[in-house]
Each structure stands twice: as structure tokens, then as C-alpha cells.
């Protein structure tokens, strides 16, 4: 069975100019009038998600916004003054998919972190924050002097504690630090040991890019990317498809380029072990607990919404 998700009809620029643009740039380009003589340019592509178990093929149009064509009409004929060329369209498309991948990851984070934190590599890398927050939860206060003996380690702890302080997870008090307002509210909601993964999940959700780039915690990146690669397809299909390894890894390639860190198979295996995905024969299926909140969050993201449902939202300038 094949299910089509049909895009709304688009208005277009004068036929002659549109034909020229399609010939000169890309045949799958779409143009929508955004102001007098300027046309918003998007690439309309289609993704095919084949659910192997249900034997269903979902064909989903996705729209990638690229920029503006500016035209003028002289002696009754319109001509293009400015607009992206072929290589710019290719590059912009690639960049847009990277952006989609990053946003998809962000929408997934709050729901999977608790599970993701059980992956050994991720747990190891977030160790210092885990230690600091656990100490405050169990003992009520944290003495920074007791955390490290060596000077180099003390400097490192200073950075982590300042980070937690900026995020209002700790504040100065007691023998050094006590729980800040953000951590206190988490402790009120969840008083047990589960408060720590919850707090770390929230911190990771708010500061994922910062942690991976400034703290250099890149160990967790591939796990999140593999998860995002599956659930992006699920978002497109609006269900939980049963994907084989080839479909899953090709989605990873589309969103993030070539996988370079570690072994893909062992990373996928870790995701199965912690229950972010399930195995069904030699195929992979997601869980509804992750998918539903992810879908809700992703539909609030203007970029993801725009890509999945063609036709919305102007871009902003700078002040």
C-alpha cells in the first residue's frame, strides 16, 4: 500500500521565468511570491519511508527553504535579477538537512536522556555534574574543596560549578554550594534518586551544543544522532515504521553525513540495550513513549514544521 501526503497548492511566478529558473537551477524548485517582484525559493523533495513489517510505503514531500529570487518585469517580460545558482541550491539543501538533524536531536533530548544516561559512555562523560548534583541531593550541600585534591582538578571543578551556578542548579551557601532554584524545583517534583537523571536531562536539553563543543563531551553525539535518524523517519511517516539497517543508516547519512565516531553497529546495539529502540527480527522499531512527546515538540519547532508542511513563516533580519 502506498500513502501520499499531499502538499498544498503553491502559487507561482510567471511561467516563462519559472521555466528558466527550473532549467538553470533545479527542476524540483518551487517559487512563492513573498513581496512585489521577489519570490521565495524552496526545493520540494520527497522522502520515501518503507515500513517493512506493514509493507507500507509513505511518500512524504518535504520543503527546504533556500532564499529569494528577485525579478523585474520589463516590456511585459520578467527576468531574474538575483537568486541562488545550482551549487548554492545544493549547498543550502545540505545545510538545511544538517539543521533539521540538529533540531530533531534537540526535540528528542528530554525524553531519551534518562535512557541515554544508562549508556556507559554517556554516563562516564557527564560524571562531574552527576557527582555534584548527587552530593547536594544526598548531603544538602557541597564542599568544592573536598571534590579534588590536585590544582588542575580544582580548576576543572570550578568551571563545572560555575556552569551549574549560571543554570541556577547550585547557589553559594552552606560549606560551599547548596541547591539552586532550578534544582530545588526538580527535587520537589521528584525527591528520589530519579531526580538526578531528570536534572541532567534538563541540563543536557538546555545546553547540548554547549556541552559537546565547549566542554568537549562529544561521546554522546552519535547515540543521539542514531536515535534522531530513526525518529525523524517516524515523524515523516506519522507512525513508528519498521526500518531495516540500510534505511536507518541512510537517514543518518542524509541528516548528519558520514558516521565517523566509533562503530555504528555497537552504538545501535547500545540503543537497543537501553530500550530507546526495539528489535523486530532484523528491523528496528521505536517506542511510543519517545515518539509521542517528540512529535509534539517537533511540531512546535518552526523549521521542522515548515519542512514537513510546506508554506509558512518569513525569515527574520537583524537589528
Amino acid at each position: 500500500m502506498t500513502r501520499y501526503v499531499v502538499p498544498p497548492a503553491l502559487s507561482s511566478m510567471p511561467n516563462g521565468t519559472q521555466a528558466y529558473v527550473r532549467w538553470a537551477v533545479a527542476p524540483n524548485i518551487r517559487l512563492r511570491e513573498s513581496a512585489a517582484s521577489s519570490w521565495e525559493c524552496t526545493v520540494l523533495s520527497r522522502d520515501e519511508i518503507w515500513d517493512r513489517k506493514q509493507d507500507t510505503l509513505v511518500i512524504r514531500p518535504i520543503e527546504v527553504p533556500l532564499g529569494l529570487f528577485v525579478t523585474e518585469i520589463r516590456r511585459g517580460r520578467s527576468r531574474v535579477l538575483e537568486g541562488p545558482n545550482v551549487s548554492e541550491v545544493r549547498r543550502a539543501t545540505r545545510l538545511k538537512f544538517r539543521d533539521i538533524g540538529a533540531r530533531s536531536q534537540k526535540a528528542l533530548l528530554p525524553d531519551i536522556f534518562v535512557k541515554l544516561s544508562h549508556v556507559a559512555q554517556v554516563r562516564q562523560v557527564m560524571g562531574p555534574l552527576h557527582t555534584a548534583l548527587s552530593t547536594i541531593r544526598m548531603r544538602g550541600e557541597l564542599d568544592p574543596e573536598a571534590l579534588a585534591n590536585r590544582r588542575r582538578e580544582r580548576e576543572k571543578w570550578k568551571v563545572y560549578l560555575k556552569f551549574l551556578k549560571n543554570e541556577a542548579y547550585v547557589r553559594e551557601g552552606g560549606v560551599g554550594f547548596v541547591a539552586g532554584s532550578a534544582f530545588e524545583s526538580i527535587l520537589r517534583t521528584e525527591g528520589g534518586p530519579q531526580a538526578i537523571p531528570l536534572a541532567l536531562g534538563q541540563l543536557l536539553y538546555d545546553n547540548y551544543a554547549y556541552m559537546t563543543e565547549v566542554f568537549g563531551w562529544r561521546m554522546m553525539v552519535p547515540y543521539l544522532r542514531w536515535t534522531s535518524a530513526y525518529y525523524w523517519r517516524a515523524l515523516e511517516a506519522e507512525s513508528l515504521p519498521s526500518l531495516d539497517w540500510d534505511a536507518w543508516s541512510s537517514t543518518y547519512g542524509l541528516l548528519y553525513g558520514k558516521q565517523t565516531h566509533g562503530s555504528p553497529i555497537s552504538q545501535a546495539q547500545s540503543l537497543l540495550e537501553v530500550g530507546i529502540l526495539h528489535e523486530d527480527g532484523r528491523r528496528f522499531v521505536g517506542t511510543r513513549d519517545v515518539f509521542k512527546p517528540y512529535q509534539e515538540r517537533a511540531t512546535k519547532d518552526p523549521v521542522l514544521t515548515r519542512v514537513l508542511s510546506p508554506g509558512a513563516g518569513p525569515s527574520l533580519g537583524r537589528g
Binding site: 556552569f163 545546553n207 554547549y210 553525513g257 533580519g317 537583524r318
Partner: protein, 230 residues
């Protein structure tokens, strides 16, 4: 990018304190002028830092602009920054753009530590206005440009060229209507929040800086003269 020592550099960038750098910068004249103002600020600072005796070659500067090359409503494939470069000065050799996914914070901090480069200018999303306790109505949800003067792992100091106007609207501690000096506009922002604003722009992670290619530069006076002549 590796740091290169260039002959003629009298004051290494690393020894400058953010407030001292900010003191010589200028505020923007109108609400929509942050990009041009910051280009002028960082370029002028670069030229001030390296007064040379040798005449400058037309090919001695690279205007490096990252993630800004995606066609924008302002300028199609030439982009807004090429027009900006034309307005600011005559000697720009090239515009370098980098794919969105590969612009990292490390690239910005490299530019910050390189002597031959100007201070980097980063774009921030409208969330930044919360840092200065206001969201100017005249700008709405517009993005903004900040010159990054220093950064460590948890905090950064930026020069906000719009802060004088914000203060004149009564949003800072100064009495209403009193303007502030540029030196006071060096604002310390927690890095994790600045990072979020930097990521939240469209396109995300936009930044630019100007870099010398190894020649000595003309003095600032000569630069301004050339600008007026143009």
C-alpha cells in the same frame, strides 16, 4: 586556523583588556545598523593595533564570514555582507563562507586568540535582549550583532553597540536620558546563554571577522580617508 605572528603588530590582542578595547568602539547610530557598526568597530580596532610604515596592499585583508553566504532577502548570491564590505572599506580580498554544520565555537575562539585577526562578531537571537533587561520595541524579535571581546569556558565579554540606546530608554541603572560611554558597554554574559543565542539565529552560528594576510596595514587615519574618498 593556527595563530601566526605578523610583523608590525605592536600590541598583541591577548594583552588587551575587554574594557580598554570597548572604550574605542562606537555605538550604532540607528536601530538597524548593528552589522555595519560592528564591522567598523572590529576593523578599526585591527588597524589601530597594527600601525605599519609599509603601504598596504589591496590584497592584505580577508573578510571571513561564516554561515552568512546563504542567500538572504537582502542580497541574493552576493549576500548582504559583500555590500557591507564595499561600504566599510575598499580592501577586501575575499568572502569565505563555511558550511553551517562545521562552524564551531572553537572557530570563534581561534579568531579571538589570533593576533592577525580582528575580534570576531557574532550574531545572536532576540533572546539576547533579556540579558540587558529589555526588548526594544523598535526592534521586535530582531537578531543582533555583538563583538566578542573575550571568552573562557563559562563566561564571555561582548561589546553591545546598541546599549547606549537601551540605557537612554531608561532600562539600565543610569538616570533616564543619560548616555553611557562605550567602555561601559562591555557586557559579561554567561557563555552557555550566549551560545544559545548564537545558535538561535537564522542561519544559525553566524559570525565574521577580518584577518590580515601578513602585510602591514595603513594607519586608521589613512583607512578613514580612503573610506571618505570612496
Amino acid at each position: 586556523m593556527t595563530s601566526r605572528r605578523v610583523p608590525g603588530v605592536t600590541t598583541p590582542k591577548g594583552s588587551l583588556r575587554p574594557k580598554e578595547v570597548a572604550e574605542k568602539m562606537v555605538f550604532q547610530a540607528t536601530p538597524w545598523d548593528c552589522e555595519r557598526t560592528q564591522v567598523f568597530n572590529v576593523l578599526a580596532e585591527l588597524l589601530r593595533r597594527s600601525p605599519g610604515e609599509n603601504p598596504a596592499s589591496p590584497r592584505d585583508l580577508v573578510f571571513s564570514c561564516f554561515n552568512g553566504a546563504v542567500p538572504t532577502p537582502v542580497g541574493g548570491k552576493a549576500g548582504w555582507f559583500a555590500k557591507l564590505a564595499q561600504r566599510v572599506g575598499p580592501r577586501f580580498e575575499a568572502v569565505v563562507s563555511k558550511p553551517e554544520g562545521t562552524a564551531r565555537w572553537a572557530n570563534v575562539t581561534d579568531a579571538l586568540s589570533e593576533e592577525a585577526a580582528s575580534f570576531p562578531v557574532i550574531a545572536v537571537s532576540s533572546g539576547y535582549w533579556a540579558e540587558v533587561d529589555t526588548r526594544p520595541k523598535e526592534l521586535g524579535d530582531q537578531e543582533h550583532c555583538l563583538a566578542l571581546l573575550s571568552a573562557d569556558k563559562v563566561s564571555a565579554v561582548v561589546f553591545d553597540c546598541y546599549l547606549n540606546r537601551i540605557c537612554s530608554m531608561g532600562h539600565c541603572e543610569l538616570p533616564l536620558g543619560r548616555s553611557i560611554a562605550p567602555g561601559d558597554a562591555a557586557v559579561e554574559v554567561p557563555l552557555q546563554r550566549l551560545f544559545k543565542y548564537w545558535e538561535g539565529t537564522s542561519p544559525p552560528r553566524f559570525y565574521f571577522y577580518v584577518r590580515r594576510l601578513g602585510y602591514r596595514l595603513k594607519s586608521l587615519a589613512e583607512f578613514e580617508e580612503a573610506k571618505v574618498a570612496r
